[in-house]
């Protein structure tokens, strides 16, 4: 894996050297046109979801507004967890607390613990930047860097850390393959990132997030700006990725939660109302509020 959680308590992550990925074979500089068979296989083996994310008594505030209340939730490794709920229920806020993007907003704060295995990501001495390399995020509207090419976009996260050129090339092609975009862009990696279609741009953002090899991937309504075909492609991708990273998807589309998620959590007014296996949540939920929301009586 890229970083051990215990390595989070380091003052300046820039000083860290690029970690060796176990199982990777040495190879001559590959060109982006041919990712190469042998090292690709070992890369696939190296990426395997093992980390459990546990939110413990999470509370989040925007000034005086208590947006998330006493939330306890677990994202299991190798699973996709969907978070559903009406607008304003706090699901995006909650997810942003996991990678500590919530605190970037002026006046916002949070309490409680977010545990990646045993390490509290909100701990006093934990480096925010390292957290965000372990917990990646894909946003509602695809946001590739406007001035960068396709290649540079995916490489951006790696270059922030000072990864070597050879390794950047490898990881970029691997990430593009993992994101299901490689075959569509392999001949034109130097084209601007913004020249892709909406669905392709979102997959580009997924590749960009995957390139730094996170343990967890958070997706905040990733398909809400996309047409149905692009949506289905990304849902397919999520199904393939869940072996490699622990995934949490915020969605307001219940059919999507049904198609994509193993576990579904329902939030209302900042609280977690119910969480359970997706099929149970949609055929026989326990809580009446879940029943009301899921059958469309409100929301």
């Amino acid at each position: 894996m890229n970083y051990e959680p215990s390595e989070l308590n380091v003052a300046d992550p820039e000083e860290r050297t690029t970690p060796r990925i176990p199982g990777r074979a040495e190879s001559p500089t590959p060109s982006p046109a041919s990712p190469g068979g042998a090292e690709r296989t070992s890369r696939v083996e190296a990426l395997h979801a093992t980390r459990r994310v546990r939110l413990e008594r999470l509370n989040a505030y925007y000034g005086d507004n208590h947006a998330v209340r006493d939330l306890d939730l677990t994202f299991e490794p190798g699973h996709v967890t969907a978070i559903i709920g009406p607008s304003g229920c706090g699901k995006s806020t909650m997810v942003r607390c996991v990678n500590r993007m919530h605190e970037e907003i002026p006046g916002a704060r949070s309490e409680g613990r977010v545990l990646l295995d045993d390490v509290d990501l909100h701990g006093a001495r934990v480096d925010v930047v390292a957290v965000r390399r372990l917990v990646g995020m894909v946003f509602q509207k695809a946001n590739p860097f406007p001035t960068m090419s396709i290649f540079d976009n995916v490489a951006a996260g790696l270059r922030f850390v000072g990864t070597s050129r050879d390794e950047v090339t490898d990881r970029v092609s691997a990430a593009l393959e993992d994101a299901g975009l490689w075959s569509e862009v392999q001949g034109r990696l130097s084209n601007p990132g913004m020249s892709l279609s909406g669905g392709q741009q979102q997959r580009l953002c997924i590749a960009r997030a995957l390139a730094v090899e996170p343990e967890v991937l958070l997706m905040d309504e990733p398909c809400s700006a996309l047409d149905p075909v692009a949506t289905l492609k990304i849902e397919e991708l999520i199904g393939q990725l869940k072996e490699k990273v622990t995934i949490a998807v915020v969605t307001h589309n219940m059919q999507q939660a049904g198609r994509v998620a193993d576990t579904t959590a329902f939030m209302l007014d900042g609280e977690l109302v119910e969480v359970g296996p997706t099929d149970k949540m949609f055929t026989n939920p326990d809580d009446d509020r879940t029943e009301q929301y899921v059958t469309g009586k409100f929301g």
Partner: protein, 297 residues
């Protein structure tokens, strides 16, 4: 059914109200049109008369020979060089500082300190340039001699609020989502700003810098105080007063000879062409920047 035949719905019949509205519409359109023509006309007049009166003086000789005190000969070669150096040094001082200030106010400052700084810069932009000239005169020149550095500092003070303000505007136009993408990828605030936000806003920032340069090239008041006593030779050392176009225009237009007046018009034409060229380039860059930021939204 052809128009005008058969019964018309009562609501569609033209009423007196409608006719009056139409008349008012026409009147507004015509007055707006006239105002636009006036504005464009003024520009055309200015540029046109300068062009007409100055074009006869323009020649290779005029652009390369040095200034002379009297007589039809000579040119503005050394003034061009001098202006170039003065503006260049001023740009080197003002643009980096202006950009850094803009980065601070748009990315890092709290809402109140950001507002205060921008307010101060707006006031600075409104200070008459002669006052800035007098200030620098008292600080650096009084009791000593004129220097190109002093003039450049004064020009930099004029340029600074323009650079900072326009860069700030462009930086705030960079969508929040782009910044978020950088942060979420594990880049620090500064890294995100330098690697992601600034490149995105770069065209717009260059535009702002160019427009400030165009402004500085034509500022006359500070130069009259700080860099007006110079020999009729090419000077490149900024620790002495440097020849420059605005002061030369002033000098030549005050001279008794008509030949010198003609040369003043020629120098004015050179200056205007320089400013126009920069404006056109700046505008082209601005369009490109807006397209890119628009696509990113």
């Amino acid at each position: 059914m052809e128009a005008g035949q058969g019964p018309i719905h009562p609501l569609l019949v033209q009423s007196a109200n409608l006719r009056r509205r139409r008349a008012v519409n026409r009147a507004m359109e015509i007055s707006a049109w006239v105002a636009a023509i006036l504005a464009v006309g003024v520009l055309a007049l200015v540029v046109g008369s300068v062009a007409v009166k100055g074009i006869s003086s323009i020649s290779i000789d005029f652009l390369t020979s040095n200034t002379t005190n009297f007589g039809p000969g000579g040119g503005i070669g050394n003034a061009i060089v001098g202006t170039g150096i003065l503006v260049g040094v001023a740009t080197l001082m003002a643009v980096p500082v202006g950009i850094l200030v803009a980065i601070y106010t748009s990315e890092f400052a709290g809402p109140r300190s950001g507002f205060a700084i921008r307010y101060a810069l707006d006031i600075l932009a409104g200070v008459p340039t002669i006052v800035i000239g007098v200030f620098i005169f008292g600080l650096l020149v009084y009791g000593h001699q004129q220097t190109g550095y002093a003039a450049s500092i004064a020009l930099a003070i004029v340029m600074l609020p323009l650079v900072a303000r326009s860069c700030h505007e462009v930086l705030t136009l960079v969508p929040e989502t782009v910044k978020e993408a950088g942060l979420a990828l594990g880049a620090s605030r500064w890294r995100t700003t330098l690697s992601v936000v600034v490149p995105t806003a770069l065209s717009g920032m260059i535009t702002g810098a160019l427009l400030a340069v165009a402004r500085a090239a034509g500022e006359t008041a500070p130069l009259l105080l700080l860099s007006s006593i110079f020999p009729d030779l090419v000077q490149t050392d900024p620790s002495t007063a440097l020849p420059n176009i605005p002061v030369t225009i002033f000098r030549y237009s005050e001279a008794p000879e008509p030949a010198k007046h003609a040369q003043a018009w020629g120098a004015a034409l050179v200056l205007i062409l320089f400013v126009l060229a920069i404006s056109v380039v700046a505008r082209a860059l601005s369009a490109r920047s807006r397209r890119r930021l628009g696509a990113a939204r």
